[in-house]
């Protein structure tokens, strides 16, 4: 599946499946980082969310691994720099 993540309000960008995964990733991030769901967007990064430190990054990864039954490679974990990228990676593994 080819995905495009358009920042322009999502209209033409994500298809329905990936929207679901994006929402699940956003929900997981909101739970782990303990902030309201509205404050997590596809563009959220460790820099833009104060509570997103290295411990919570690990917690987020473990939450996603258990929730989706997947496993990330160490290299992938380093590359996960935004909610959008994480959702894309989850999609490709859980797909």
């Amino acid at each position: 599946m080819v995905l495009r993540f358009d920042q322009a309000d999502g209209e033409p960008g994500l298809d329905s499946i990936s929207m679901i995964i994006l929402d699940q990733v956003r929900t997981a991030a909101a739970d782990v980082l303990r902030i309201p769901l509205e404050r997590i967007t596809e563009a959220s990064t460790p820099e833009s969310v104060e509570s997103w430190d290295s411990v919570e990054h690990l917690n987020l990864i473990l939450a996603l691994e258990t929730q989706f039954g997947i496993e990330f490679e160490p290299e992938e974990i380093e590359q996960m720099k935004s909610i959008g990228e994480i959702a894309r990676l989850v999609e490709s593994k859980a797909g």
């Binding site: 411990v55 917690n59 473990l62 939450a63 996603l64 691994e65 258990t66 929730q67």
Partner: protein, 587 residues
């Protein structure tokens, strides 16, 4: 589900929100749900009953991801856990440095999640730790390697890697036994239970020093909870069980004695497995009760005469077999057995009954069962509220005491006056200073006794042992014509000038209502006089549960001398003699 929880919190329906969070957690416990459960319970603080507890974790590996999972499991179990993590691999410094963050956090319990030890050094650390802290300490055993470095050769030689691990773990157990309040968590057995290969995550170990696979974090947290439940006192003292399809397969009222499934062969074997767990609990001092919608004759016939029954009538402290609502029956069981509803666990195969009980009596701990009876025994064994860290003689015999209590009640109904009843009991009391032998039971009584307890001050063994000369700790033993009730009372007295201060005075519910308290107090007063004290004083600090002790001071001629928001202070002029009932004999 998340919206539902937030809606309930918004509406102020705290109990319902906590129940929904519990349901959410039990359906899928782990890192994914932990953040949500923790953050929502933090909002419920102050509106639902939670026991606060401080836990420090010393470690040699990354345990950060276990913390939210542990806190979520604790919240669902009624414990508000504050967790402090020691620095990576810095446990020795933390213990040895009196100014370390470990001691400034002042934990109530410490987990030592360490993967290998040098036993001589460890012994010294434990000694230092016990000198500086009264906190409970939980030591992990060392994990055996999934495949030894020598390969199959390891099993052929005498000083193998495997032997070495076993030796270390044996030493660890012996060491823990030498100190008060130190317990061993068999980490090696825990890992083996879930499978060494599946437990370990090599990638996370090599990249972030986290050896536990994501899916097993919850199992480590649950294992810690098995210690935290007994340490915080959030435990079940009573297990109330349903009968049909829980204690046996089928419905006794319809299938009859021959029709129900109960025996050594499948499918009856699954139910015998449940009964075997119940008997294990019985020998830990947990009281067994029946709470069933049935015709009492049918059910009793099966309990008393079915050849497959392992649980016998004599194991059952209380039977409620009728057509009343289970919530009502559970209230009566708690009342009859003299325990709070929050000390009662309930197990029933029917999810509707479980839901009913959760909604009607939220204090009761409801144990969920899977759909298949073959999983029932495991579900009961996994429930941390039945765990105990120490077992006193009293615990092991508790079930028998309650059977004797039933007979006593029958006698009470047949005796005319109260005094006649007291005389007929032929009670004998032994008041003694605490000894190393009785210390564990005395501490346990201060921690568990809620009803007849003037001040409800909780003390650990370590605290009692560490208290100085100025403090007198007494234990009370009560025998009667039916049995030796064992150690059932504690008093802690402090002499200050003229005054003998009652810091603590409590009686186990087992001996309430038999004038034992009067004789106990009279003996303590006589000793205070002999030591030259002129007054006996103490506080009554009311709690939600200690109404049975409310009139204690007034009833024994104390005068109220002070009253504040916490409670009332009472004083007795020791120049007036205090009478002890003549139907009680002192040993």
């Amino acid at each position: 589900m998340r919206e539902e929880v937030d809606r309930l919190i918004g509406e102020g329906a705290a109990d319902a929100a906590a129940r929904a969070l519990g349901e959410m957690w039990r359906s899928d416990p782990g890192p994914a749900a932990a953040g949500f459960v923790v953050s929502r319970f933090e909002k419920l603080r102050g509106t639902v009953a939670l026991t606060p507890y401080r836990l420090a974790i010393l470690r040699s590996f990354t345990v950060e991801p276990v913390v939210p999972v542990l806190r979520a499991a604790a919240f669902v179990g009624g414990i508000d856990l504050s967790v402090q993590l020691g620095d990576f691999n810095a446990y020795a410094q933390e213990i040895l440095d009196p100014a370390s963050s470990l001691y400034s956090f002042d934990p109530q319990a410490v987990v030592m999640a360490v993967q290998s030890y040098e036993t001589a050094a460890l012994r010294e650390w434990l000694r230092v730790f016990r000198e500086r802290s009264n906190a409970h300490l939980i030591l992990h055993t060392v994990e055996s390697a999934p495949t030894p470095g020598r390969g199959v050769l390891d099993a052929q030689i005498s000083s193998s890697e495997w032997d070495e691990t076993q030796r270390m773990n044996r030493e660890l157990r012996e060491m823990a036994r030498q100190f008060r309040g130190m317990y061993v968590l068999d980490y090696d057995a825990l890992v083996a239970r879930y499978g060494r290969e599946s437990w370990r995550d090599e990638r996370k170990w090599l990249t972030m020093r986290m050896p536990v696979a994501a899916g097993h974090l919850v199992h480590l947290a649950q294992e810690w909870m098995r210690f935290l439940h007994p340490l915080t006192g959030r435990i079940a003292k009573v297990l109330a069980v349903d009968l049909d399809n829980t204690l046996w397969g089928g419905v006794i009222g319809e299938d009859g004695m021959e029709g129900i499934q109960l025996g050594a062969e499948y499918p009856g074997a699954a139910f015998q497995a449940v009964q075997r767990v119940m008997l294990d609990f019985y020998s830990r001092g947990i009281l067994l009760a029946v709470c069933s919608k049935n015709n009492p004759q049918d059910a009793l016939e099966a309990i008393e005469n079915h050849p497959g029954m392992l649980v016998q009538r004599r194991h059952l402290a209380c039977l409620k077999i009728n057509w009343a609502e289970k919530a009502q029956n559970l209230r009566e069981i708690a009342l009859e057995l003299n325990v709070g509803l929050d000390s009662v666990a309930f197990v029933d195969d029917n999810p509707v009954e479980r839901q009913h009980v959760r909604a009607q009596v939220p204090e009761v701990m409801v144990i969920d069962l899977p759909a298949n009876p073959m999983g029932f025994a495991r579900a009961l064994r996994d429930a941390a509220v039945f765990e105990r860290l120490t077992l006193s003689e009293e615990d092991a015999q508790r079930g028998e005491y309650y059977a004797a209590e039933r007979e006593r009640k029958e006698l009470q109904q047949s005796s005319g006056s109260a005094e006649e009843f007291y005389r007929s009991l032929q009670q004998e009391l032994e008041v003694a200073a605490v000894t190393p032998m009785t210390l564990a039971r005395v501490a346990q009584l201060t921690q568990k006794t809620n009803q007849f307890n003037l001040t409800t001050r909780r003390y650990s063994e370590q605290e009692l042992a560490a208290a100085g000369e100025s403090q007198r700790v007494y234990s009370l033993r009560v025998k009667d014509r039916y049995c030796d009730n064992g150690l059932v009372g504690v008093a802690i007295l402090k002499d200050q000038g003229d005054v003998c201060e009652i810091d603590t005075l409590l009686l186990s519910c087992r001996v309430i209502g038999r004038t034992v308290e009067t004789a106990f107090l009279a003996r303590l007063a006589a000793e205070a006089v002999a030591r030259g004290r002129r007054r006996m004083e103490g506080w009554f600090l009311p709690t939600r549960k200690n109404a049975p002790a409310k009139d204690f001071f007034a009833k024994h001629g104390f005068e109220r001398v002070e009253e504040n928001g916490e409670g009332s202070r009472w004083s007795y002029d020791l120049t007036k003699p205090m009478a002890s009932p003549d139907w009680i004999r002192f040993l």
